[in-house]
C-alpha cells in the first residue's frame, strides 16, 4: 500500500510557494517531490487548460466529462465540498502539475486526475501525489478500496498508477466514448491491507 506521509515542509518552502490562485497554503500532504493543496474557487479558470489535455483517467463521476462549462462548474463546487476532496498537485518547485479528485461511495472511492501537461505521468510527483492522496484517504475514512480507471492506450499513466501501488483488475470494454471512438479502460485498485 501507499508509503509514509512526510512532515509538513519548512516555512521557507511555504514562502516560496506561488500558486495559480496566488494562495500560500502549507498542508501536511507533502512528500519529497510532491505537495497537495486544496483547490480554491480561484483555481478553476486555471484548470481549464488541463481539461484540454488528452484524457487519460476517467473522471470520477459516472456521467463522465460532458462539457467544459459543466466541468468547470463541478470544480467550482468541489472546491467547497467536504466529501469530495479536490487537491492541486504541486511539484518540488511549487509548480501546479495537475488536479486530483476523490469521489466517495461508501467503502469505495474513485480517483480522478487531470494532468497539467502531457509529461505529467512521467514526473516523480505524479506517483507520489497519488500515493499521498491514497494514504490520506485510508487514514481519514473507513474506505476499503480506491479505484482508478485509465484509458487502455495510456501506458505512461498505467505505469504511474502501478508505481503508486495500484493493481490491475481488468479491462472494461468500450468504456469511454470520445467524439469518434470508444476506448477500453483499465480498472486498477488499491485495497486496505
Amino acid at each position: 500500500m501507499a508509503g509514509k506521509l512526510s512532515k509538513p515542509g519548512s516555512a521557507r518552502r511555504a514562502a516560496a510557494r506561488g500558486t495559480a490562485a496566488g494562495a500560500l497554503v502549507l498542508t501536511w500532504l507533502q512528500s519529497e517531490h510532491a505537495g497537495l493543496r486544496p483547490i480554491e474557487p480561484a483555481d478553476v479558470p486555471f484548470i481549464r487548460g488541463w481539461l484540454k489535455q488528452p484524457p487519460v483517467s476517467l473522471w470520477p463521476w459516472p456521467a463522465g466529462h460532458k462539457s467544459e462549462e459543466s466541468d468547470i462548474d463541478r470544480y467550482a463546487r468541489l472546491a467547497v465540498d467536504r466529501n469530495s476532496p479536490a487537491l492541486i498537485i504541486e511539484n518540488r518547485a511549487y509548480r501546479p502539475r495537475g488536479l486530483i479528485v476523490l469521489r466517495m461511495d461508501g467503502i469505495r472511492a474513485t480517483l480522478g486526475i487531470a494532468a497539467a501537461g502531457a509529461h505529467f505521468w512521467r514526473e516523480i510527483c505524479a506517483a507520489e501525489s497519488i500515493d499521498l492522496t491514497v494514504s490520506a484517504a485510508f487514514r481519514i475514512w473507513p474506505l476499503q478500496r480506491i479505484e482508478l480507471l485509465i484509458f487502455a492506450g495510456c501506458q505512461a499513466a498505467l505505469a504511474c498508477a502501478r508505481k503508486a501501488g495500484f493493481r490491475h483488475e481488468g479491462v472494461l470494454r468500450c468504456c469511454r466514448r470520445t467524439e469518434t471512438s470508444f476506448e477500453d479502460c483499465v480498472v486498477l485498485s488499491i485495497v486496505r491491507a
Partner: protein, 201 residues
C-alpha cells in the same frame, strides 16, 4: 417496451413474460424485496413501504422509457430485472427471481436476453454491464449464456454477511455495432472502436 413472451419456455407449464413494471406491481415488488428471497446473492436493502415503492414506480412511468421490468408467470410477478445507470459505462443490469421454484429453468436467461435486446435496440446503449459474486454459479452461467464476458475482479467491493467480498464484473456489447479501428488493437489486447452502427444486435 412490448411484453416479451417466453415462448421457448412452454415446458414450464405456464406463460412467462417480461414487461415494464407498472404501479400495479408495487405490492409484489415490495414483498419480493422485503422477503430477502434473493438477498443471499444480491445486495441487502432495507424493506420499503408500499407508498414509497408506488411513488418510485410512478416516477419511472412519468420519465418515459422503461428501466425496470416485471418477470411474470401466468401474470403473477415472480421476479424483476432492470437497466440502471451504470457504475462505469452504458447501463447496469440487475435481476432477481423471487420465486425460487422458477430458478434454474431458463427464465433468467430469457429475461436477461429480452432486457438486453431492449437496451440495445430502444435505449441505444453501447454497453450493458453487471457485477456478480464469484460463487453465484447460476447467475454466472445465465449471463455467460446470454453473451456476457468477464472483464475484471473488483476486490473488496462490498460488505456482505460479515466480510468484504470481491465482485466479478461482466459486460455485453452489441457485437455487430463496433468495429475495432484497424491497427488499433494494442499489444495489451485492448481496443479503440469506431462508432459504426451497421445494424442493431
Amino acid at each position: 417496451m412490448k411484453a416479451i413472451d417466453g415462448s421457448g419456455l412452454r415446458a414450464l407449464g405456464c406463460h412467462i413474460c417480461v414487461r415494464p413494471l407498472s404501479t400495479g406491481d408495487a405490492r409484489s415488488v415490495r414483498d419480493g424485496f422485503a422477503s430477502a428471497a434473493a438477498a443471499l446473492t444480491t445486495r441487502y436493502s432495507f424493506p420499503r413501504s408500499l407508498a414509497s415503492v408506488s411513488a418510485q414506480l410512478e416516477l419511472e412511468r412519468a420519465r418515459g422509457h422503461a428501466q425496470r421490468f416485471a418477470i411474470t408467470a401466468d401474470e403473477r410477478l415472480i421476479g424483476v430485472c432492470s437497466l440502471q445507470p451504470p457504475l462505469y459505462s452504458g447501463k447496469e443490469l440487475t435481476i432477481a427471481i423471487f420465486d425460487a421454484g422458477f430458478r434454474g429453468r431458463g427464465v433468467g436467461t430469457h429475461a436477461v436476453g429480452a432486457v438486453c435486446r431492449y437496451g440495445f435496440q430502444v435505449l441505444k446503449t453501447h454497453r450493458i454491464e453487471l457485477g456478480v459474486y464469484a460463487d453465484n454459479h447460476a447467475a454466472r452461467a445465465c449471463y455467460r449464456r446470454c453473451g456476457f464476458r468477464y472483464e475484471a475482479r473488483l476486490r473488496k467491493f462490498l460488505y456482505h454477511d460479515g466480510g468484504y467480498r470481491d465482485i466479478l464484473w461482466m459486460s455485453l456489447l452489441p457485437a455487430t455495432r463496433y468495429i475495432v479501428v484497424a491497427g488499433e488493437r494494442r499489444q495489451n489486447g485492448t481496443n479503440r472502436y469506431r462508432h459504426e452502427l451497421r445494424s442493431p444486435m
